[in-house]
């Protein structure tokens, strides 16, 4: 035995035996003694230990050296296993990199187990940036270790192997906390984890011995964590041999097992799910809904038990709420059942309990509370996503105060996830026009959101590993440089924009941008205060980001800003945005960004000859039509490895791009004569429009008919341009409610029947030449009422300009006069729908 107070010199000894004895004495003297641990840390014991663990063998196997490394590892894990104050002192880049290097098959098993213990303890302590991004080899060695220990476990089920394997599985989510880093682990870890989980099922069935339930549940949770859509579909396709045991586990006595099964099943069937489009919008595949129905009782029970366990659910496993959030995003019956079971009230009670305002006033939030809060808030946002009553219920239950409190909390790593979740709640709530106009006005959310958008992390919050010498921090993987665009001028700051932006910050900005989207609509009372905060440059910079979700949401926000007739806002937006950026976004690699960018143009050009001119002047008439032509010609071109489901899931966005492009033409055709002439001169686009009148999506067909109506509308010569605009506005309103149709009808029939315009006639003839008249005839039988009605208007206008079929034209005419409900230059709505997917 060496005297305790002078162990440090012995740790530095070259004699392995002395070192080993010192390590053992150290181990015995610190176990359970926090003061001792603190004292040794003060004297720099950490670096001695790391040095010993790092001892490299020079090809010669030295048992003594191995033993020293093991003991040092065990001592280190003993330091980690203390109160947070002490263990957080271990959390240094050097510790992490040393521990990570021991994670190989070639380390002594006891050292590996000790390292795994230390790592899991430390990483649970505090959110740490994805280790997999910092250590490129980590994924591979994890994969090898999991395979190795799985085999060992299935062969002889040794206790130490089970422990190591359990810790390895626990580590998987800890080294890849962000979504993208988890997905990056997938290629390495999916198959060994599937083997392990499936093996655990088989093992239980064949040997009758119940497989270690902790190992099984951590393995299932790890698999759920790294699951990609492709892997999910492969497993689902493998059939019931994998899913049936999982379903049975939903009723296991052990709650963690039940939770793990629920989260894997959720991941299996919601990631990469196909979204089927129908004429009425997006519907979910029925089997997903059925599965969600099975999961709801399990998850609700887990939540109820956690709440009943005391402390008002404060000790609830956050993963219950995260899984519930994913399930609830299905909407429909699934959400109804959760609400029926009182989920809104239960969650709000947790939120209110965990997030009292004074808790945030201190600017600190515990990691554990943070996860629980973010899960709860995500769940609330999912519950209200598709249902106005539930949004109302969320407000009535008193959630908004907590959300605002979260938004206005000082930024710390622990609060980051919570703020993202709070943004999602705000976005969900802002879907309600009523709430936008009432409760949210007073809530004081604006400052919080704008702060998040412009947020730059301060120095001490910088991620821990940024200055690790040994490992160069990997830059955010970015797309290749922009694809060929018509616009050559790319802002110079583009490339530097995101440098140094950590993925985590981008996620926060993305979520905040999603919350902004609805708040900047023209009927939102918050619009002015948000814009006054100088948000525009932040949004524009978001639209330039190379981080796709942020770029998408920013483009979306821009689209909403130019919605409506507030010319001042449009002016100020255009002063910041500039057409080059918009044109670039129209050619974005991501189809959903294209959709938003074209919707931006659609909104910009609506009822505004000024902006049509601005577009033509800045981009060039030919370029505009070339762009529209390209978009109207879009076909889904699946990537080589895309499966059918992926094709199904992106299909709607291609159609939406076509719709947006078509409406740009509708709006230009609603401009003055010059604009209409520009359209009619563009034969390629016109032919496309005529072709698209047979498109399977009714909105595309409707846009085409509107184009024809606008091109053949005969304006009263006596009307001043201002009056014409007023008429257009009236037409717009009439689209919202049928009540005003009658007066419009009478007004228009009298005028349009008499007035003759040679330009209109010529345009009508051109359209007829391209086959528009035949197509319209076909659309008279359209299944969608709106299309049929507008078709009648279009036919009436063309025919009254002499473009009708020569035979029986008179009958047609008479018949039409009686039934045409409304016409006039109609700009047919701007785009402001919000996508149902969360981009975070």
């Amino acid at each position: 035995m060496i005297a305790e107070d002078d162990l440090l010199p012995y740790l530095r000894s070259d004699d392995r035996r002395i070192q080993l004895r010192a390590l053992r004495s150290l181990k015995n003297s610190i176990i359970g003694h926090s003061e001792q641990k603190a004292a040794y840390l003060d004297r720099g014991v950490l670096y001695e230990l790391l040095g010993i663990i790092n001892t490299q063998e020079d090809g010669v196997k030295d048992p003594m050296s191995d033993e020293c490394r093991i003991q040092a590892g065990v001592v280190l894990s003993s330091f980690a296993y203390s109160d947070p104050e002490i263990s957080s002192r271990l959390l240094t880049p050097a510790t992490l990199s040393t521990l990570v290097t021991t994670l190989t098959q070639y380390s002594p098993p006891a050292l590996l187990l000790a390292s795994l213990r230390t790592l899991t303890t430390l990483l649970t302590l505090r959110p740490t940036p994805s280790l997999v991004n910092q250590f490129p080899g980590l994924a591979t060695s994890m994969s090898e270790l999991i395979s190795h220990y799985s085999t060992a476990c299935f062969e002889n089920y040794a206790r130490q192997d089970v422990q190591s394997l359990t810790k390895l599985c626990t580590l998987v989510p800890l080294i890849s906390p962000s979504h993208s880093s988890a997905q990056s682990l997938s290629s390495e870890l999916t198959s060994p984890l599937i083997e392990l989980v499936y093996g655990s099922f088989k093992n239980s069935q064949t040997s009758g011995v119940v497989f270690d339930s902790k190992l099984q549940s951590t393995a299932i949770l790890a698999l759920a964590h790294v699951l990609t859509p492709t892997a999910a579909r492969q497993i689902a396709a493998a059939g019931p041999k994998f899913t049936n045991p999982l379903l049975a586990l939903l009723r296991a006595p052990d709650t963690t097992t039940r939770l793990s099964a629920a989260s894997l099943l959720t991941a299996l069937y919601t990631s990469g799910k196909p979204e089927l489009t129908s004429s009425s919008g997006v519907t979910r595949a029925p089997q997903i809904t059925t599965l969600a129905m099975t999961l709801v009782p399990t998850l609700m029970k887990l939540l109820d038990d956690a709440i009943a366990a005391g402390d008002h659910g404060r000790n609830c496993d956050p993963r219950i709420l995260h899984t519930l959030a994913i399930v609830c995003r299905e909407g429909g019956d699934v959400t109804d059942r959760c609400v029926e079971a009182g989920l809104i009230k239960k969650i709000v009670s947790i939120v209110v309990q965990v997030a009292p305002n004074n808790h945030f006033a201190s600017g600190r939030i515990l990691e554990r509370d943070g996860k629980l809060l973010s899960g709860s808030l995500l769940c609330l946002s999912a519950l209200g996503l598709y249902n106005e009553d539930y949004r109302k219920a969320i407000i009535e239950a008193g959630a908004l105060g907590a959300v605002v409190a979260v938004m206005n909390t000082a930024n710390t790593p622990a609060v980051r996830e919570v703020k993202i979740a709070a943004c999602h709640v705000l976005r969900t709530l802002s879907r309600s026009v009523r709430l936008l106009r009432t409760t949210m006005v007073e809530s004081g959310v604006v400052c919080g959101i704008v702060d998040l958008l412009g947020d730059v992390p301060s120095e001490e919050e910088r991620p821990l590993l940024e200055n690790v010498d040994t490992v160069a921090s990997e830059p955010e993987p970015m797309d290749d440089e922009p694809v060929q665009t018509t616009v050559t001028e790319v802002p110079a700051e583009e490339d530097d924009e995101d440098e140094g932006d950590e993925e985590e910050d981008l996620e926060v900005r993305t979520a905040a941008m999603a919350a902004v989207c609805n708040l900047v609509l023209d009927f939102s009372p918050l619009r002015k205060s948000i814009l006054d905060k100088g948000i525009l440059p932040l949004v524009v910079s978001g639209a330039r980001s190379r981080y796709t979700p942020l770029r998408l949401n920013s483009t979306w926000a821009l689209k909403h800003m130019v919605f409506g007739d507030d010319m001042d806002t449009k002016d100020s937006v255009m002063s910041h945005v500039g057409f080059p950026l918009i044109m670039k976004l129209c050619e974005d690699k991501e189809i959903q960004v294209q959709e938003q960018a074209l919707d931006f143009l659609r909104n910009l050009t609506a009822r505004s000859e000024k902006y049509i001119d601005m577009l033509f002047d800045n981009v060039g008439v030919d370029e505009v039509f070339k762009l529209v032509d390209r978009k109207l010609s879009l076909r889904v071109v699946p990537a080589v490895d895309d499966s059918e489901q992926e094709l199904l899931s992106t299909q709607p966005y291609y159609t939406k791009v076509i719709i947006a492009a078509a409406y740009v033409i509708v709006h230009i055709a609603a401009g003055d004569d010059r604009h209409r002439e520009a359209v009619i001169r563009n034969e390629t686009v016109l032919r496309k429009i005529v072709q698209l009148m047979r498109h399977e999506n009714y909105e595309v067909r409707l846009a085409c008919v509107w184009t024809i109506i606008n091109l053949t509308w005969v304006e009263e010569p006596s009307r001043a341009p201002g009056e014409a605009a007023a008429a257009q506005l009236a037409g717009q309103i009439s689209a919202g409610g049928p009540s005003s149709d009658q007066s419009q009808l009478e007004q228009s029939i009298s005028s349009s029947a008499e007035i003759y315009s040679s330009d209109c006639r010529r345009r009508a003839m051109t359209l007829v030449r391209f086959g528009a008249r035949e197509q319209l005839e076909y659309l008279k039988q359209d299944p969608v009422l709106d299309v049929r009605e507008k078709t009648k208007t279009a036919i009436y206008q063309i025919d009254s300009l002499g473009g009708g079929p020569s035979l029986g034209a008179e009958d047609q005419h008479v018949e039409n006069i009686g039934s045409v409900p409304s016409h006039g230059v109609e700009v047919a709505g701007s785009a402001m729908e919000i996508d149902s997917e969360l981009h975070a």
Partner: protein, 631 residues
Amino acid sequence: MASFLHVPATKSHNSSFTTVVAPGLADRPANEYFVPKYLSSTCYADCVANSAVAAQLASKRAAQATGSPGLSAASSRSTFGLFDGQTTPHLYSYSDLSKHSPLPPGLPGFQAYDLQESSLASAEDVPPHLPSCWSPEGVSQSMEIFGDMLEVKFAGPPAKGNEQEAAAVRANHPIPPQCGLFYFEVEVMSRGKDGYAFPLPRTSTHTFERDDQIVNERSFIGVGFCGPKVQLNKMPGWVSDSWGYHGDDGNTFACQNSGKQYGPTFSTNDVIGCGVNFRNGTAFYTKNGIAFETAFKDLKGTLYPAVGMRTIGEHIRANFGQREFVFDIESYMREEKAKTYKQIHTFQPPLELLGGKDSATADTAITQSIHKLISSYLAHNGYVDSVRAFLGDVQKETNAFSAPKGVSYGDVNGEESEIAEDVEAINRQKIRTAVLEGNINRALKLTELFFPKVFEENPEILFQLKCRKFVELMRSCALAKEESEYTDDDEMPDISKDDEDTDMLDGEAPAKPNLADLLNEALRYGQNLHESYRNQTLLSSTTDVQKALNDIFALMAYPDPINSPVAYLLAEEGRAPVAEDLNSAILVSQGKSSVAPLERLIQHTTMLMRELAEQGGQSAFVNVQHDFLAP
């Protein structure tokens, strides 16, 4: 994908619930006991299983007596037929009861099998049935029962304008309180003609993306339970002795027609569950697998599951445990059990009962009693070394903690006398081992050797051993035969591990006997047995010698006894009772108790719990056998 939902991993009807067959009394048709999975570990389930075993034995004997041994097997198969899923559902209308017998012949699963020998099962021994289907005797005229007696449809005529008019059906049996918890589910197949689904008015006309259409669906169906005399023309809950949860308003009704706001409405495709908990006399409901709070309190009396309907076309299907439930009732059961045990553990009996004036002396007294129980049990069963080691440890512990205070452990030390009887205990242990190994010869010889008076005093034990010996011989034959079917070799492999031992003792059995020799030996022994006991009755015992002989000789009637209806006789499990009886007989002959105090304590507790459970209450959740003694 959809096919595996709500279906457990190994889905077959047999695995999700236990079916045991118990022939009823002579004048009743066969009755099936359905013990759903969530009740499988209860005392009630054990009672059912016990009575089933008894009945099975009886039926086997009966079958033998009538010379048609296959009958009992056929009967057991046919009862499985009720829920085998193969049967096409037939629509039986019970609206005119006079035309039908209560249980129409030919209904799958109800083939009457009249037990000819009914002496074995007395009325008290038969546990009450659980509700398992709707009752053709307890159904409104407006309703039809069909689909394995689980589905009910409102066929009309509709209620004549009167809101209070309805139709109800109740289950075939009341819920026996001794099951502790009863749960059933009702799936609404159709909400009927007048149930409705209407979109609720939107609170806001503006939505700028997909918002779900909120559809509120209701049905005029009520789910609950009622007493035996409740009229069948009212909804459950509307009249006295009747409780229900209604789909049109989501209200619960307890014996009166004004409701109480309880849960959501329900309609087509919803699964409503109803649980009656006898631990605290409450009931709760579930909808689609999610439980709501307690609905009713202070429940008692005879309660039948019941469903009420009000409009034409309403159609439900019940699940009394035949299929997996949508709600996880097994978790609920586990929790209820845990609550019961928590209460038991927190109970503080009066100190004087524990033999102490203060808690310290009481604790000491308890510890001493426990030590005594353990050492006497070990000694009783002849685990001599264990007794020594145990007492040694106790002594050490006592010295370490209590010696300074001088607390006397005199009682424990008093066990010394038992240790002195080491030899006797060791011998009993040897005999027991021999019986458990199936080496009856050795057991006979050892008993003769060490305890010569036992057989003299207990001729029925000798008879029992001899019978077992015959069974063991038949068993050897059967195993040898089975093995010969797998090996082409004429020579038989070892059939018994203790051959060597047997050789040493009596040199009787050859190391590798062939099948013919074995059979001969068995026959010879059987003949001897028959000869010596042919006209004997053992006056002192209740053993029916002739019946016992008939039973075991039945083994010879089958060329392949292992796969015959009497295979149960060959089971190794049959050795333990013989060993127990022999051990007890030896102990009695030595002037000791035949049962160890620990065993007596268990027997006593078990019986107490059973008695208590008859009235329902907490004790139904305690199963001494399962919770403490199961491996």
